[in-house]
């Protein structure tokens, strides 16, 4: 058996599993087969060891009997978790979700198991999950990083007269019109054989959809829609977000696909939680700004392209105070988006349903972030220029001016905003004004690289037109901001700054990387690196290349195969 990882979407991954020279894309179903039971399938078959069939997964008898495996690749069940034995006999290369029955009953145990397996050295082995894989659960199981899922539930359900869909379980005898057009359903028969063929087909279709979603970085959205029909899934997803945030965050790309945040669970997506935490850990207002203007978000992204934001900016511009005004957008589910970060994922990549009514979780979240901003960043003046979010925000801060009266786009409100700004008395003992653009770039750099981002901007000048600007120091380009990525892309010179600051480094042996850096060459990777981050590839103190991370730091260190960093510039 050989297993290669080809792509990732959080903990979920796409790979290829090779058994006896037959290759199967993962995540995959493992279709159970016995002498009595045979179902047509595309993926690998899961059979008993004594049923010889190339290209399948084989399970040996338990260790209680002499039938215990004689074959290298067979899956050994050992003493099935007996507390009287701690012998681990499996050599198949798979890793399992253990205590399968208790994790199906208890969501916290399920999440514990996932965290255990995915934090261990078995991270790169294919993870097999038995008994749990109803079609509507496949997306979630894949989301947790399960690679192979057996079809025992499809068989048991068919035996019990249960008709499976990607939206849950239906009693087959209650169906008037078959809600599926697979071959078995077209026959309109509900015997064991036809039900099983339908269940198999429903699971295979769903698995293909899951693979598609992973390929496009959209699995989380599929999961959020699938969990609705099964309390076990909702519990598990919520607990994953609450108790396995760190694990999920480490595997979540820094720049992901655009998404729709349409459910309660969306508020706790790892990439959204990361945004909120990173704001509080790494963010400071651009130096020189003294007036905070809180404005609502817009449906159009980036916000500054929307009509409403053009009006806000016009009012600010004509007030004459623009150089010291700091615009911060108040939004669900991100909380706050400082204007200069509006290109940074996911600020321009999310979409939310807008009703004008904010629920308690949303209110609480914006209140927390706005009050953090106001109390830690110390503005001379705070202006609230908000719409539906006015009430929760205003109630969480004190000492501010409200200019919108709940209708931020109206002429009156805009005039009021302009007047309040104009009337603000600037005393001339304020700090020496630096380039506002550089300070905004510094803010992005800090958000992206932490303290090392500050070092990048020291002594740098900006060239070009925002947002497509280049950072130049001593005549050499060190990096550039691109509107599409919303992040800084570094040159080798920029990489040296990171290396000196001691972060975002991937250490390699003494060789000169050409083309791309493969995991086998990685000695160590700094823990803050996320997929999609710019990293410096170093040997000792020497920067050998810069590029974009393709793996989480743990995977870079564990893996023997696969591209770890996509190199942009090599020395």
């Amino acid at each position: 058996m050989r297993f290669d990882l080809l792509g990732r979407d959080g903990l979920a991954r796409r790979g290829v599993i090779e058994i006896d020279e037959q290759e199967y894309p993962t995540p995959t179903l493992a279709t159970i087969g016995t002498e009595k039971l045979r179902v047509e399938c595309k993926g690998p078959r899961l059979t008993y060891e004594n049923i010889s069939e190339p290209g399948g997964l084989r399970v040996s008898g338990s260790s209680f009997f002499d039938t215990d495996s004689h074959e290298e690749g067979a899956i050994r069940v050992g003493f099935r978790g007996s507390p009287y034995s701690d012998a681990r006999t499996d050599k198949s290369g798979f890793v399992f979700l253990d205590n399968i029955s208790s994790i199906m009953l208890d969501s916290s145990r399920f999440v514990e198991q996932i965290v255990k397996v995915k934090s261990s050295n078995s991270l790169l082995k294919p993870l097999l999950c038995s008994v749990a894989g109803f079609p509507h659960r496949l997306a979630f199981l894949a989301y947790c990083g399960v690679d192979v899922i057996d079809t025992i539930p499809l068989v048991m359900a068919a035996r019990n007269g249960q008709y499976l869909t990607n939206h849950g379980i239906i009693d087959a005898s209650s169906i008037k019109e078959m809600p599926c057009s697979c071959e078995a359903c077209e026959s309109d028969r509900r015997d064991l054989d036809h039900l099983l063929r339908h269940n198999q087909s429903a699971a295979e279709s769903e698995m293909r959809l899951v693979r598609h979603a992973i390929d496009h970085g959209k699995l989380r959205e599929l999961v959020e829609s699938r969990v609705r029909c099964d309390p076990w899934l909702v519990q598990n997803l919520r607990l994953m977000d609450i108790t396995a945030y760190q694990l999920q965050e480490m595997h979540a790309p820094i720049k992901g696909a655009p998404f729709h945040a349409g459910s309660k669970e969306s508020l706790n997506r790892p990439d959204i939680t990361r945004w909120k935490m990173r704001i509080q850990e790494r963010y400071h207002r651009p130096e020189g700004t003294r007036i905070l203007v809180l404005i609502p978000c817009s449906a159009r992204k980036p916000y500054s392209l929307s009509k409403s934001h053009k009006r806000f900016r016009e009012a600010i511009l004509t007030s004459g105070k623009a150089p010291i005004v700091h615009e911060v957008i108040v939004t669900s589910p991100l909380g706050i988006v400082p204007r200069e970060l509006e290109l940074f994922y996911p600020a321009k990549d999310y979409d939310i349903p807008v009703t004008g009514h904010w629920d308690r979780d949303e209110k609480h979240m914006v209140q927390e972030l706005v009050s953090w901003l106001v109390s830690s960043e110390k503005y001379d003046l705070v202006i609230s220029h908000l719409g539906d979010e006015q009430e929760p925000v205003n109630s969480s801060i004190s000492d501010f001016v409200d200019t919108s009266g709940g209708d931020p786009g109206s002429r009156d409100s805009l005039n009021r905003l302009q007047e309040v700004l104009r009337d603000f008395d600037v005393d001339d003992r304020g700090p020496v004004r630096r380039s506002r653009n550089l300070e905004e770039l510094r803010s992005i750099c800090r958000f992206q690289f932490g303290p090392a981002g500050n070092a990048l901007c020291d002594g740098a000048a900006i060239m070009g037109r925002w947002p497509n600007v280049r950072m130049v120091r001593d005549g050499q380009q060190i990096g550039m901001l691109t509107a599409e990525r919303g992040m800084i892309s570094l040159t080798l010179e920029g990489g040296k700054v990171l290396a000196d600051a001691g972060s975002y480094r991937v250490e390699i042996d003494d060789f000169k990387p050409k083309g791309n850096l493969f995991a086998v060459g990685v000695k160590k990777a700094d823990g803050e690196i996320r997929i999609g981050d710019d990293v410096a590839i170093v040997h000792g103190k020497e920067v050998r290349a810069v590029g974009v991370a393709r793996m989480s730091p743990v995977e870079m260190e564990l893996a023997q195969r696969g591209e770890a960093v996509h190199i942009r510039h090599a020395a």
Binding site: L37, G61, I75, F79, F96, S101, S130, G161
Partner: protein
Amino acid sequence: MTGFESDSCRRPRRKDDGSAVAVWTEKEFLKGKLLDAGVIILRTGGCSHFHTGGCSMCGYNTVSKMGISAEHIVKQFERALPGIGDVQVLKIYTSGSFLDKAEVPEEAARRILEECSSRGMRLLVESRPEYVTGERVDQILSVHDDLEIAIGFESANDKVLRYSINKGFTVADYDLAADILNERKVDLRSYVLIKPPFLTEAEAIADAVATVKHAARTSATISINAVNVQKGTVVDKLWRNWAYRPPWLWSVLQVVRASEDFGVKVVCDPVGGGSIRGAHNCGECDQTIIDGLKDFSISQNRSRLGSKDCSCKDMWNMILDIEGLVTGGTCDLQRFFRSQRR
């Protein structure tokens, strides 16, 4: 694995040193005749093995009590006797080993043996094999010689004894005890367990049949016992996690039928049969099968066994077929996928 040790869900019971746990009468088929038998369950200090971990399925020590003296045991016995009246066979169970002098002191054992001898009653007692020594058996035979000694053999597979049951003895230990009894012409009754934990239904059937075959060579009677889920045991913990299902009655029936080939008297009365904690089927066909097993046990007439096919037999067959493919522990597939959950 942890979590199995610290179980304290035991029902508090009133424990009276001077009265037996239970007393009843039943029928016993012996050498072609149907006889009256009395059963006395004595309260003792409990099984010696229980104090060193105990068996995964056994919760019988909940009736045991520390500090029971020989006088207490004799008192329990004497108080129980009038209740059973005139019987030809007396069965004395202690939830442990009658032959263990630490559990049943010699003077108490002697009193019981003498009483049986004077009344001409055949006596059946239970013991772990380590207490079945030539010396001890001879000692007992010198007081009373119409004896049957029962040993909880459970499985003829050392790995099952060790890693599933935690029995604390080996097949060789049982064989040695069996030889000691056979040499002295003491009848041996062997208990065979159906479905210790961590085995699939199919493995459990095969294991029980192999055990009947092994025990048939040295035993006068084989008692087939289906696991029932007793509170506070490892099996109970598994059962509450839906990781264990007591055997199907179809499995019990299959083992009893297979034992026909070995030419030995077989009895089977599943404790808790038909309930969710005992051997059970779907609920429809359970009673017919249990009644059949009971009838068979007191008649050895195989035509009494069985039931007409029930729809649950298809489920049982399917589980026999696929359960071994479950990975990541054990799972009661029937409970997880029963339709009434949704």
